[in-house]
């Protein structure tokens, strides 16, 4: 089941299934190794529509809500 990164519960791991957006957006994500097929973990989300923090490999990345909405993942069982 694919859900948006926003709806992934805190502390949960998931596989990236789909990235929606323009070429520039995708390149930006790719530069930080956020690609389809990668496993990521949601660390936290800042309150009041603040950025989402995820972990990919050994790096943490802060991503604005609007961007996070366009990242679709499938939670690990």
């Amino acid at each position: 089941m694919e859900i948006s990164l926003i709806n992934l519960p805190e502390g949960k791991k998931a596989v990236i299934k789909k990235l929606e957006g323009g070429r520039e957006f995708l390149r930006k994500l790719e530069a930080l190794n956020i690609r389809v097929g990668k496993i990521i973990k949601k660390i936290t989300g800042q309150p009041f529509r603040g950025p989402i923090v995820i972990e990919v490999d050994n790096t943490k990345v802060a991503i604005g809500r609007g961007m996070a909405m366009r990242i679709y993942v499938e939670p690990e069982k």
């Binding site: 930080l32 603040g50 790096t59 802060a62 604005g64 609007g66």
Partner: protein, 563 residues
């Protein structure tokens, strides 16, 4: 020969650069851009070679200005040291493959080798070397492990121009990682637990508050201690100044020694070039500059600031900026000039304008803060609190206003949050030295100019002329004596000297608070002004200046009514 250090952000490139080069490091902008890079020298055998710390990039594709500059610099280099983070092999190798394509002699420094070991990551160096076709040397820039070996292997740097398409690159990287890397699960280390706790809002916000308060007290403690030492040293200077005072007379004495207070030299009030002119910058301001930049360096190099930026991102977005805009604000607390320069890390012009304007208006530099503390300390810390609370409220309100008035929006946050690392102490000290040196060379001439200008303005009677014209505003609206106008004029040269000039005016507490607040807001000092003019351009600078003056009159009148 020119050696380029290239790699992703936060891989320890700068620490490695500090290790390789000596004390003489030049920081400059790449011609025609606002991207900064560092240049240093290194001894290689009998030759002295140039080492360049290229801005960190994740790729050579033009995603931001940093990549465009990196590609240009690449053409001018003879040898590449590709610094990669052993704990993040996969992502780092993308740039490595792009660099190999450029067909220059290259060597890989597999940095953070110890951290990888702690995390249970094992990398087969021999296999990695074979797959990449260039030497790979494990290093720990922080402790210096492997650096000698890296240097001795520089002459063995190889070319290996493998050309691959994007997808093929990732496939090849997948193959490399599978073959050379083994990960054993390990329990979280203390630093890793701290990493999570300081980014989650529930724990991160209280911890962040404690860190900031603690930083403030450490800055104050080190600053006060140093200040006491420097002040003590002036005891040895006083006889010389007295001797000069006895042997000089007239205008020269007025300029060099200044006015005697109760028959003695008063370093804070005499306002002579050789009394106040050297005492204020050295014994009052410099101690706090040193302690501030020391603490800031620790915060920077430990990797805490991006976390703070993430925590405050929501608030700063309401003010039209990114969380990262916290950095110009913090730097501005030291000196507004580097604060203004660092607004460059913000992507859009709108953000830079808001950040620069808010910083210039509401962030007092350490020189001014130190003087405010020196003068208001007898009244207690609560009184000083009024000034800073007022500035903070102005910062908030003005930010919200600008964000709603200016057209356009704020782009979304997207940034890497580096792992916590123990700061490389020598690196921190080196940075501290560069910044302190910057302060001494940029600020001292202006302090002299400020004191000189003040003396000339007084003796020629220009002050009383300007005071007459502006007295309706200064006296009626702000409730200050018209002599205070002199401080406002000199404040354009140096704010610390200007705060000092308030002392002989015998202002009451309310007037002191208003004067100190206005001195922060009304206009930046000349060094900041010139920097802002360069960064913002003339049109935006005029806009910014109008906002400053209007704000200062409004706030000053308001304080005059309610206090």
């Amino acid at each position: 020969m020119r050696i380029l250090l290239m790699g992703n952000l936060n891989v320890g490139k700068s620490t490695l650069f500090s290790r390789l080069t000596g004390i003489n490091v030049i920081i400059s902008n790449y011609p025609g851009t606002t991207v900064e890079f560092k240049k240093g020298k290194m001894k290689l055998g009998r030759e002295i070679v140039e080492v360049i710390d290229v801005p960190g990039t994740y790729t050579l594709e033009p995603i931001s200005k940093a990549e465009i500059v990196a590609v240009k610099m690449l053409k001018e280099g003879d040898l590449i040291i590709n610094v990669i983070d052993a704990t993040n092999l996969e992502r780092n190798l993308y740039l490595t493959l792009e660099l190999l394509e450029k067909n220059k002699p290259m060597i890989v420094a597999l940095n953070c080798w110890d951290e990888a070991r702690h995390k249970g990551i094992k990398i087969n160096i021999k296999k990695l070397q074979k797959l990449l076709g260039v030497p790979v040397i494990p290093t720990v820039a922080l402790t210096g492990e492997g650096i000698k070996k890296l240097v001795s292997y520089l002459k063995k740097a190889r070319k290996n121009p493998i050309k691959l398409k994007r997808k093929e690159k990732w496939a090849f990287i997948g193959k490399i990682v599978k073959e050379v890397q083994k990960i054993r699960h390990k329990d979280h280390t203390f630093l890793e637990i701290a990493e999570d706790l300081t980014i989650k809002p529930l724990t991160g916000i209280p911890v962040g508050t404690v860190i900031l308060i603690l930083s403030f007290f450490v800055v104050r403690f080190i600053g006060e201690s140093l200040s006491r030492i420097f002040d003590y040293l002036f005891n040895f200077y006083t006889p010389i100044a007295n001797w000069l005072g006895n042997h000089l007379s007239g205008f020269l004495k007025e300029i060099l020694i200044g006015t005697l207070i109760d028959g003695k030299i008063d370093y804070l009030q005499s306002m002579g070039l050789l009394t106040t002119g050297i005492y204020v910058p050295i014994a009052v301001v410099l101690p706090y500059i040193i302690s501030f930049y020391f603490v800031l360096g620790l915060l920077e190099d430990s990797g805490y600031l991006p976390r703070l930026a993430t925590l405050v991102d929501t608030i700063l977005h309401k003010l039209g900026m990114h969380g990262l805009a916290i950095i110009p604000m913090l730097l501005g607390l030291g000196c507004n000039v580097p604060g203004a320069l660092s607004t460059r890390i913000l992507e859009t012009r709108r953000q830079r304008f808001i950040a620069a304007t808010l910083m210039a208006i509401a962030v007092p530099c350490m020189a001014q803060t130190a003087m405010i503390f020196a003068i208001l300390a007898p009244y207690g810390i609560k009184r000083i609190g009024i000034i800073f609370a007022t500035l903070f409220i102005i910062w908030l309100i003005l930010g919200i206003l600008l964000n709603n008035i200016l057209p356009g929006g704020t782009p979304e946050t997207f940034m890497e949050i580096p792992p916590y690392r123990i700061p490389y102490f020598k690196g921190v000290l080196k940075k501290l030295w560069m910044r302190t040196k910057g302060f001494i060379f940029h600020a001292l001439p202006f302090v002299f100019l400020g004191v000189l200008a003040m003396n000339i303005l007084y003796t020629t009677g220009i002050i009383s002329a300007i005071a007459k014209i502006s007295s309706p505003i200064v006296v009626k609206l702000l409730g200050l004596p018209k002599e205070a106008i002199a401080a406002l004029i000199v404040g354009f040269l140096r704010k610390d000297v200007a705060v000092g000039m308030l002392l002989p005016l015998r202002l009451n507490l309310k007037q002191l608070i208003i004067a100190c607040t206005i001195l922060t807001i009304y206009f930046p000092c000349i060094a900041t002004f010139v920097t802002l003019l360069k960064e913002l351009g003339i049109k935006d600078m005029i806009k910014s200046a109008i906002i400053m003056m209007v704000t200062s009159i409004l706030v000053g009148s308001f304080l005059n009514i309610i206090l």
